[in-house]
Amino acid sequence: MDLIEKVKNLILLMNENSLAEIEVEEEGTKIRLKRNNLDSIQTSVQMPAVKPSLQQEGSTKYLTSKDESGVAEVVAPMVGTFYTSAPGADPYVSVGDDVGEDTVVCIIEAMKIMNEIKAETKGKIVEVMVENGTAVEYGQPLFCVEASG
């Protein structure tokens, strides 16, 4: 049985038996496996997510910085109505566009004022997360941006 086979079998055993850790050492071969805590128990006591608001069914993550995968989110810095473009114009950005920190990516209208929102990060737009013309909360993710460096 080769090493990979052994590890596979050990993983199988872990899963079947809900083990958190396995460590084996045999004839100079040492294998140690460790799994993150099963979430089932800990999450079962968590508070339920707040009910989605009137306007927005999606979840609100409040990520403002890049996560491990190098993907950042541009979040709404204020409550208001989200527009991808100035009235009658083309969208500021689309999926695939490169943006810099100062690139205007959208408008949020709040109290009749059109606020131009900047990306605040560098990279490529990989997703527009909100429909044009819908309401957004403070902290709501608007765009996914893949870091360019």
């Binding site: 009910k51 608001s53 009137l54 306007q55 609100t60 409550v79 309401a135 403070y138 902290g139």
Partner: protein
Amino acid sequence: MFSRILVANRGEIALRIIRTCKELGIETVAVYSKADKDALYLQCADAHVCIGPGESNGSYLNIPGIISAAEITDIEAIHPGYGFLSENSHFAEVCESSNIVFIGPSSEVMTKMGDKTQARNIAIENKIPVIPGSDSTVEDQQQALKVAHEIGYPVLIKASFGGGGRGMRVAHNDISLVNSLAIAKREAEVAFKDSSVYMEKYIESSRHIEVQIVADKYGNVIHLGERDCTVQRRHQKLVEQAPAPNIKDQLREDICKAAIKMAKGVNYTNVGTVEFVVDGEGKYYFIEMNTRLQVEHPVTEMVTGIDLVAEQIRIAHGERLNLRQKKVKSEGVSIECRINAEDPDNDFRPFAGKITKYSAPGGKGVRVDSHVCAGYEVPPYYDSLLGKLIVHKKSREEAIACMKRALSEYRIEGVKTTIPLHLNIISDQRFATGDIDTHFVENLIGEK
């Protein structure tokens, strides 16, 4: 009636307002800061919108954010609760100009009453006793000394736009007056962005008694009796009662009449509170009018049976008062204890943290107004009020016994609270007889 209201506040008072709206069949939109995003009470609202970060300036004091949330959720009126923007006349103006009903008095009245010297002059015009003092702001040392010599020491220096004890100083002689004036002005500048102060005679032994006013838009003004808020610590109310114990019926009648005169004098609308101090000889003096719902409004609700938030909403909607002064009856005795997350061993500083265990009292005569539960995180950004424990019984004796047992069964773990202090207060013989002044708590806990 309104079909949807935005609640521009947080915590127990947001929940309090949502409760009445639900009973009236009005939808609610709760706005919240990131620090409050997991709060269970948000689930009681029909919708909720995050308006900013934990810091109040960006969220609960963020006027554009709140108005914007109001616009996207299509609400008809805003209830400001107490604190935050509730006495901000500019906010009321913005609501008015955005075609949103502000549930409170007009911005003009708020402006007038927000200026303490102006409010004092209105009281004088209406022949309501005020504490002897400067009729306007005190500009400099010389003027301060002149006023002090006229009214006699001790004197109290107060910020014109102040509240909550900041910008407030007592002076017993010329030297302390000169020092205190400078400090008070600086505190007022920092806290309220206006260094104006005024001066009045300092009343050593006093009680704090206030009158609840309800006024519609058609000139009908009634009072719902008085509340005694003498139990304070450093100008922060701790225990409130209705009716006020141990006062003469004549005094009760006089201050209620004075409160109505004051409200009529400024064409007041919606609910409001006229505050008085009463000195050792039973003389009363107007201090200020609060143009909003008070924290302690439930004690009035318990003895009168009237839902003050429902009245606020009806009045703001333009309805006529369906209450008549003669029909308002005060029955029994109600006491409220403010349960704060505070550390008694550390000068009662606010105590943020997670509530690990929570069990509120219940049973006959007990009302709990609280937004917290086991697992709730007390955020560090706001005031430390976890909830209000209110009792209502036929007699004062029974009310005190009920409050004592309710406090003793209230379990909050994870944060320190004022429950032990309240047990101390409620068990005190002086509290039982009502023979106390505003220094009662400081004497009780050996402060000062």
